[in-house]
Symmetry: C2
Subunit: 151 residues, 2 copies
DNA sequence: GGTGAAATCTACCTAGG
DNA sequence: CCTAGGTAGATTTCACC
């Protein structure tokens, strides 16, 4: 189904999606046409779902990154929906996961400054009825960032 | 420096880095040449740092995603370096952040199954001398994923 | 694995504010 | 003078051999 060459191809394009078929072929010891065909097959089979440009947060004035853990007061479907709707709508919240354990949700947020983060938490998230408790942790340093999946 | 058209361009290519200059121009009401030129300028100025293919974890057999919070027993430079070296080396750990607050580090990990996650925690992370405590939370659902930065 | 037609990018040129 | 639009040569992709 997916062989070792595919795995190396996936690692390569996760680091740089703009590699040409020729460059991919050189890394994988394949001809450009074979490299391009493999990439196309991985896209069509749904293993590669797209490509995203990486934008420097600092370059766009986003100085503060944080993770916000949210514990729910209730799991009533209607109240939870109100929460998820706000999560999906707020642009500062770029990712949101449901987790096992104490914290029900983990949000990844980007803000221009600490005041904006404070405002997001106290004027947007905490007032949501379903929310019981919020704990935010600011990102001080990024040790490793979006490395290719371990495949 | 960076105007509203640039912001819309950045949002667009964060969702789909493979948009052609023509398609970008249609969305932004610009000619293809201008759209291409703006994208190129944003790349050269360092605001756009690259592009990454998005690979489906399930499609490659990675059934378990988790966040691992790590508290350090010490901050001795040498012991911390041993920790960061392992973090950078282990392919299952795709991202790692230093955080304010109780947990010193947050790791994002992908594993084939629960046993592999368990093994990573108990045989790799916990034995590191600098590590005092580890708490892992498994991702049950992804509500929102890598939305464009709020610019 | 290779080839060629079609699509895409991009450097250069021209026009308008 | 700076920004937008157009054009052509070079590059890349992809269907076919």
């Amino acid at each position: 189904m997916i062989d070792d060459t595919d795995r190396r191809l996936l690692s390569a394009i996760q680091t740089d999606a703009q590699l040409t078929a020729q460059e991919l072929g050189e890394r994988l010891n394949l001809s450009a046409s074979q490299a391009g065909r493999r990439r196309q097959r991985l896209e069509q089979s749904g293993i590669v779902t797209g490509a995203r440009a990486v934008v420097s947060p600092e370059g766009t004035g986003l100085q503060v990154q944080a993770f916000v853990q949210v514990q729910m007061a209730t799991h009533e479907p209607e109240k939870v929906r109100a929460f998820t709707r706000i999560v999906k709508t707020r642009p500062q919240i770029v990712s949101a996961w449901t987790l096992t354990g104490e914290a029900d949700y983990l949000l990844r947020v980007y803000c221009t400054d600490l005041a904006a983060l404070h405002q997001l938490i106290h004027e947007v998230i905490l007032p949501i009825p379903a929310v019981a408790r919020v704990q935010s942790q600011i990102v001080m340093d990024q040790l490793k960032q979006d490395a290719p999946l371990p495949i």
